[in-house]
């Protein structure tokens, strides 16, 4: 039987070279979706194969890798991907945003500001921001080529006419470098401003759809809006119950079946770092609270 033997970071060097070429092209044309010959990976499509291929192609032995899903290092898929690279590349892993050189993410951008030299790798399910307005790839590629984004503005306008607001709360479309409209992946729109002029390199990998795109460091990223309906961030208006942060995106935790809820940071590293520094929230280190609920 052909016993499998795998290369550093799983992918063979030929494949890595092909992916690196696509990444370089993507960096050269910010926001443009570069087709690449995505491979079958040992995890399912839709579970981060695009991000995994990008990470595999850029990872070096000296890198320190962090993987998050929903902002957290502890979600099962994040653990699974982190273990995959720990096993196939033997690189150091971390949960600290500041210490990581490569951060692979699904659905969030870390709260702690990224710095120059870091790479943020996004897992992307549907790279085409126009896909739900026009299902055909041949059409959407033409629309991008001509910069024909009227359809998107009409969609946003119709939202306002119908709901009074732009009713897109995640995967909120942005314009990159004043040229291409881009899907930021399904991050909550709270995270959109973090992409703008970010000192870190941002790479986006869509495995099933076979596309890679990029935002080079210090590139303008503008969320689409209208003068009289400017882009706004959404965040549940409460401090984190564990660390008291008033500026982080919050997960809603349902604590019983009587409607009780609490709100805690979705970014676990941010929350834990703050707690270590002595920041407290209403529910942290307060065992007597149980009596109140009891």
């Amino acid at each position: 039987m052909n016993a499998p033997a795998y290369n550093f970071a799983y992918l063979d060097e030929q494949t890595k070279r092909m992916i690196r070429r696509a990444i370089l092209k993507a960096i050269a044309i910010p926001g443009y979706q570069v087709p690449f010959a995505s491979r079958e990976m040992p995890m399912p499509y839709g579970w981060g194969t695009g991000g995994v291929q990008v990470t595999a192609a850029i990872l070096g032995p000296a890198d320190v890798l962090k993987v998050i899903d929903q902002g957290s290092d502890d979600t099962t898929n994040a653990i699974s991907i982190r273990k995959f690279f720990a096993k196939t590349a033997g690189v150091a892993t971390t949960t600290s945003t500041a210490d990581a050189t490569v951060i692979q993410t699904r659905h969030r951008i870390p709260e702690a500001p990224l710095h120059s030299g870091q790479v943020l790798v996004y897992q992307v399910p549907i790279p085409e921001p126009l896909r739900f307005l026009e299902p055909r790839e041949t059409e959407t590629r033409r629309m991008h080529a001509l910069g024909e984004y009227g359809l998107m503005h009409v969609k946003l306008y119709e939202d306002i006419a119908r709901f009074g607001h732009i009713a897109t709360s995640y995967a909120y479309p942005v314009k990159v470098n004043a040229r291409y409209v881009m899907d930021p992946s399904p991050t909550p729109k709270f995270d959109n401003p973090k992409m703008d002029h970010c000192p870190a390199l941002q790479l986006f990998g869509a495995g099933r759809e076979k596309r890679i795109y990029a935002i080079p460091p210090h590139t303008s990223v503008v969320s689409l809006d209208f003068e009289d309906h400017p882009f706004t961030r959404y965040r549940f208006d409460a401090p984190c119950a564990l660390c008291g942060a008033g500026d982080s995106y919050l997960d809603e935790i349902v604590t019983d079946d009587k409607g009780s809820r609490m709100f805690v940071c979705s970014d676990t590293d941010y929350c834990e770092t703050r707690q270590k520094r002595g920041h407290l929230g209403s529910e942290s280190a307060a065992p007597h609270k149980e009596k109140l609920h009891g």
Binding site: M1, E40, Y45, D74, A78, A167, Y249, E283
Partner: protein, 367 residues
């Protein structure tokens, strides 16, 4: 005190351990061997090799065992392994005309040179559960006969000699065939890439599409010109020695559909072709593929594209079951942050709705 959910790592390890336990089933019952799967569940192995795009019975059997009989999971395992293999080159085109035929039927002619050969088929069996198979049973040895020296020309070649069917396009030896596993797919796609996509496509998806075209969605009037099953030689042109070296033989099922004729002011009418090819004995797959190959030629043959089966972007983008299952099943992954974002928006809209609703009432009360 609330502690954020932890312990995912241990949960994964335990889940995998439990999976291995479930896979083994009752430990008192002998474990199924790869030889048993390959020999006795041979059609499952054929399907996994076909849609997994890798001709290796042993690995396909291993994949089926590892996947607990889940075919798409097994196909996925084989594909993921295939993706890591080095590529040495492409073989010479196989010549199915020189196939060592085990089964060969045509629905277009009662008799054909070389004859109709039923071979191992479910066709004409009565689908009655056989209680004898529930116990160990030894079937009769198969009947044997003399090997016929007669050549077995393909039925489409017979039609082609009289110009009744469009000629099969000749491949240009200097133009490499496309490979959608190595180059990203673009549209419109050439027939080489379409056929590759269909060969890897989910059998059920192609079956439904082929069926839909028979029922009038992209009408297509096909005859099964010929279906043949057997072994063909695979040869590889070794640059060093300068000639084609045989690598071995593989089992293939080929289906050539003969379809409605077309003609124009400048061309005499003739039948058109639809082509299907699959590893092993995969007749349903090869037939469905041939139907869909033909419907996807709509653009090339100047037909109006109206039905899903004729729409290459629709068909090719959704035919791959490994892609499809991944994306459908990814809905199991957490979506907390997006859902939270949607909750926020929905609550805001509902609050505004309630306020708007309350307003006229208040006005009415004031009046």
């Amino acid at each position: 005190m609330y502690v954020a959910v932890k312990g995912g790592e241990r949960a994964i390890e335990n889940a995998h351990r439990l999976l291995a336990h479930e896979r083994r089933g009752d430990r008192e019952v002998p474990e199924v061997s790869l030889d048993q799967i390959s020999g006795q569940l041979g059609l499952a192995v054929d399907r996994v090799m076909t849609e997994g795009s890798l001709y290796d019975r042993e690995l396909a059997a291993l994949a089926i065992k590892q996947a607990r009989g889940d075919m798409i999971e097994a196909i996925f395992l084989l594909r993921a392994f295939r993706a890591t293999l080095p590529r040495f080159g492409t073989t010479e085109p196989v010549d199915t005309g020189r196939m060592q035929v085990r089964r060969r039927i045509s629905s277009t002619f009662k008799d054909i040179p070389g004859g109709q050969i039923l071979g191992p088929t479910f066709d004409y069996t009565h689908r009655l559960l056989d209680p004898q198979l529930a116990e160990a049973s030894i079937p009769e040895m198969p009947a044997t006969g003399e090997v016929s020296p007669a050549a077995m020309p393909r039925v489409t070649d017979i039609l082609g000699r009289d110009g009744l069917i469009e000629p099969s396009p000749h491949g240009d030896a200097n133009t490499p065939v496309g490979d959608l596993t190595r180059e990203p797919l673009g549209f419109p796609a050439g027939r080489d890439l379409r056929l590759q996509n269909l060969a890897r496509a989910d059998e059920g998806f192609l079956l439904a599409l082929g069926y839909s075209s028979q029922r009038g969605y992209g009408r297509n009037h096909p005859f099964a010109g010929e279906i043949r099953l057997g072994e063909v030689e695979v040869e590889f042109l070794a640059e060093d020695v300068g000639f084609a070296v045989p690598l071995g033989s593989i089992t293939l099922t080929e289906c050539q559909m003969v379809n409605q004729f077309k003609g124009s002011a400048t061309e005499a009418p003739c039948f058109t072709r639809g082509y299907g090819l699959a590893f092993g004995q995969s007749e349903r797959k090869a037939m469905s593929m041939a139907l869909v190959d033909r419907t996807l030629r709509a653009r090339e043959l100047g037909e109006e594209v109206l039905a899903p089966a004729q729409d290459e972007e629709f068909v090719m983008s959704h035919s791959d079951n490994v892609q499809a299952t991944g994306f459908v099943e990814h809905l199991k992954l957490p979506h907390y942050v997006d859902f939270q974002s949607e909750l926020g928006l929905l609550r805001k809209l509902r609050k505004e709705f309630a306020e708007d609703d309350a307003l006229p009432d208040m006005q009415a009360a004031a009046e």
